[in-house]
């Protein structure tokens, strides 16, 4: 099967690119065939975001989005920032002292899942072929290293690798250009970066893991449009992060904690930090008496401009979080992902409409990116995360305030953070074991009942999609050195160290996997590789 453009991933970046390509083709009165592959069982099934959404890119893509019924329903009406001093105390930051990128006037509280479903409909309306339930397994590289499309994962392979009844080999989908929009730590993007050395001039990429729940709250506790952010407890300078809580429509509240994956203490469990965080009075005041509806987790790419790899290679490009276009100062990546997709689409359309046959390097994408507001925005906030990481929320936050509010981000220095996240763990022997409180079943919950709410499912009889390069590493190296942190950083209980026999054993419950990619990022031995399972597997998020 051959298309002009194959796009991997039906998220904001991929779908914005697809729509833009069709719009440009229509304006030129020509045909550009576009196919979008999505590993989730449907468009939106694997989408998870806060989300306080800045509509800038959407305004450009569909100026009439309101008439078209885009689900931007709740404008931000209030913007609280707290610094949590401990389990019960907090100070509210006066608006004046909040770094400017964190202000939210003109933004909307949305479900990105809903928006992406809407974008999917727009794309199909424009003639894009969208195929959910099909996972791209690998890029097709020709003898010159040119990307020629992708090959889908096989369907109908048993756990032990045998072909079951109905085995279907993964077919090839070829494109003149292939755009990779897999989101944070895309497994093909990662390979392409290695193969083409795309990241060799960039700082190491940095990541966070975002955990999110949606709550139905008591009507009296609901403040539609209110945005609440916090830093501080339960995290600290060595293990930083921040939280969000958004009141959106239908008496629902999205609450989440983002833990920087540069955390040091191997005993830290992002999931349990999130659970105890909800007991803080600032958060509890909204959730108490409510009902938890949904749970999910996803890693985010947060290195910003300094960590941004080269985004182009012969035959295609990386877009959105697959490249790393999230603006960490704003804690927003949706508008930047969409914009990067649109810029790539413009570059591809320019080539194709001029009669190009593809397979070349999209240097014009790089040029367009450099000239765009997206670049300006990322440049402005390039030091934000590094300051926080190096000096914590108070001092780092203060420097950010000065940089962003006094200098508008136009400072002559650039800060670098050269230690990759997987290398940041301190040995268990030098770390303090964390005793997390037992979940109370009202505000806090255990891991498995949480994963249950993500409606995660994989066909069981298929090969494990979390590959260990060396199966002995978890027990022989990670366990003595770091008490095997996978048990704790995985937000879905995929990894367990079982001690029911004489020897501990490492178990992978691949079926639980919510496709967050944290293991691929944080494993200190870089021994875990996340590959795509059979299409359609993974979480089935409703409106996350």
């Amino acid at each position: 099967m051959e298309y002009d453009v194959v796009i991997v991933g039906a998220g904001p970046a991929g779908l914005a690119a697809a729509c833009r390509l069709k719009q440009l083709a229509a304006t030129a009165g020509k045909e550009i065939s576009v196919c979008v592959l999505e590993k989730g069982s449907e468009v939106g099934a694997h989408i998870l975001s806060g989300a306080a959404f800045e509509p800038r890119a959407l305004n450009e893509l569909f100026p009439d989005w309101k008439e078209k019924g885009a689900p931007l329903l709740t404008p931000v009406t209030g913007d609280d920032v707290y610094f949590m001093l401990g389990a019960t105390r907090a100070v509210k930051m006066p608006g004046l002292f909040v770094p400017r990128p964190m202000h939210n006037e003109g933004n909307y509280i949305i479900s990105l899942g809903k928006l992406v479903r809407w974008l999917g409909q727009q794309a199909e309306g424009l003639g894009v072929e969208v195929y959910p339930g099909f996972a791209a397994q690998d890029a097709i590289l020709d003898e010159n290293g040119v990307v020629r499309g992708v090959v889908l994962s096989d369907a109908g392979v048993s756990r032990s690798g045998e072909h079951k009844e109905g085995f279907t080999p993964g077919m090839e989908l070829r494109g003149k250009y292939t755009l990779f929009a897999e989101g944070c730590r895309g497994h093909i993007g990662k390979k392409l970066m290695e193969h083409h050395g795309l990241a060799k001039d960039a700082d190491p990429q940095h990541y966070g893991i975002g955990l999110k729940e949606v709550w139905q709250v008591e009507p009296g506790r609901h403040r539609p449009g209110l945005v609440v952010h916090s830093a501080g407890w339960p995290l600290d300078t060595a293990n930083p992060g921040g939280s969000f809580l958004y009141h959106f429509e239908d008496n629902q509240v999205a609450v989440g904690l983002i833990v920087d994956l540069s955390y040091k203490n191997p005993y830290l469990s992002p999931f349990d930090e999130f659970q105890r965080f909800k007991h803080h009075p600032v958060i509890k005041q909204y959730l108490e008496g409510g009902k938890r509806l949904a749970y999910g987790a996803r890693a985010i790419t947060k290195g910003g401009l300094n960590s941004l790899p080269k985004m182009v290679f012969p035959g295609g490009a990386l877009i959105g979080c697959d490249a790393g276009t999230l603006n960490f100062a704003k804690i927003k990546g949706s508008h930047t992902a969409m914009k990067s997709g649109m810029l790539a689409a413009e570059a591809v359309a320019e080539k194709l409409l001029a009669g190009g046959t593809g397979a070349d390097v999209l240097d014009n994408y790089t040029e367009k990116f450099r000239a765009s507001w997206l670049y300006a925005e990322l440049h402005q906030s390039r030091n934000f995360g590094t300051w926080l990481h190096k000096f914590g929320a108070i001092v780092g936050g203060g420097i950010n305030w000065v940089e962003q509010n006094i200098f508008g981000g136009r400072v002559p220095w650039t800060m670098h953070d050269m230690k990759p996240d997987h290398a940041s763990l301190a040995p268990a022997a030098e770390s303090v074991r964390i005793e997390y409180p037992k979940p109370d079943g009202k505000l806090s919950f255990d891991k498995l009942s949480s994963v249950f709410l993500s409606s995660t499912n994989h066909e069981e009889d298929q090969p494990v999609h979390l590959k260990l390069k060396d199966p002995s590493v978890p027990i022989q190296k990670n366990l003595p050195l770091y008490d095997e942190p996978a048990q704790r950083y995985c937000p879905a209980g995929v990894y367990e160290v079982i001690r029911d026999g004489d020897k501990p054993r490492f178990q992978i419950n691949a079926q639980n996997c919510v496709h967050c990619k944290t293991c691929d990022i944080k494993d200190p031995a870089q021994n875990i590789t996340w590959v795509a399972p059979e299409g359609g597997g993974g979480p089935n998020y409703a409106n996350m």
């Binding site: 099967m1 069982s41 449907e42 939106g44 099934a45 479900s111 899942g113 809903k114 479903r117 072929e129 195929y131 339930g133 099909f134 889908l152 369907a155 109908g156 009844e165 109905g166 279907t168 077919m171 989908l173 139905q216 008496n251 009902k291 509806l293 249950f452 709410l453 409606s455 995660t456 499912n457 089935n540 409703a542 409106n543």
Partner: protein
């Protein structure tokens, strides 16, 4: 020889069901939908019968709103040759569905009508039997094996007591159970081809079908929560407790 397969769009079986706080139903907005799994089995069976040469054409039918077109596209990707979409945005209960299907059957005269034994949303499990009554033809529900031989079929049914085999004259209605077959993986090229296959839209009025009397849904609630029971200390106490409940003799 035609087979007619009825397919329904339902909330996907993986989705965690949430009852709406106002009791008006369950949350379906933004929730993944898919073809009713038992209908997938019905589709698969039809395709296998066609592959064996027992039938020559498969027609998929659905009754419901505009979104149900995606379910018909799935049926077409499975291997249906064409589809009929009975368009009705309102709620369709089994008797009305059976009347609509009966009208389509009268128009198409299929040899066999295949349906899932129940839809996993309402869990009614009525439409096939009602359809057979309206058509005054044979029914074989909960099928785990279907052998078509000319204008007769032998169907094995999964009933509580075991496996019952019936011989039925065709045309007839067969409803499918879990073990009848393992539906195939849809292949991307088939999904692509399905986009181009024809879907005929009709309304209940076009079919001359009157909406049947319906059961009124007053409210939807969460199922009762199971309470904590007793803790016994010894095996003897356990055995005694089981005996007392009449669970063992």
């Amino acid at each position: 020889m035609k087979a007619l397969v009825s397919v329904k769009r339902v909330v996907d079986f993986n989705v965690r069901i949430q009852v709406k706080p106002d009791g008006s139903g369950v949350v379906t907005d933004g929730v993944k939908h898919a073809m009713n799994p038992f209908d997938e089995i019905a589709m698969e069976e039809a395709v296998r019968l066609k592959e064996k040469g027992k039938i020559t054409e498969i027609i998929a039918v659905t009754i419901g709103g505009a979104k149900c077109e995606e379910t018909l596209r799935t049926a077409l990707a499975f291997g249906a040759d064409r589809a009929v979409h009975v368009k009705e945005e309102g709620e369709v209960q089994p008797l009305t569905a059976a009347r609509a299907l009966a009208a389509v059957v009268k128009k198409e005269s299929p040899l066999l009508v295949l349906l899932g034994k129940q839809a996993i949303d309402d869990d009614n499990g009525q439409t096939g039997q009602m359809l057979a009554a309206l058509l005054d033809c044979a029914q074989a529900t909960f099928a785990s094996k279907v052998e078509v031989d000319g204008n007769k079929a032998k169907v094995t049914r999964e009933i509580d007591a075991g496996l019952e085999t019936l011989e039925i004259d065709l045309p007839a209605v067969v409803t499918t159970d879990l073990r009848l077959n393992e539906p195939r993986y849809l292949k991307l090229p088939d999904i692509m081809k399905a986009k181009k296959k024809p879907i005929e839209p009709v309304s209940l009025a076009d079919l001359g079908v009157e909406v049947a009397p319906a059961v009124k849904h007053l409210k939807t609630t969460n199922p009762p929560v199971r309470g904590k029971g007793v803790v016994v200390k010894t095996v003897d106490e356990l055995v005694a407790a089981l005996k007392q409940k009449g669970l063992i003799s």
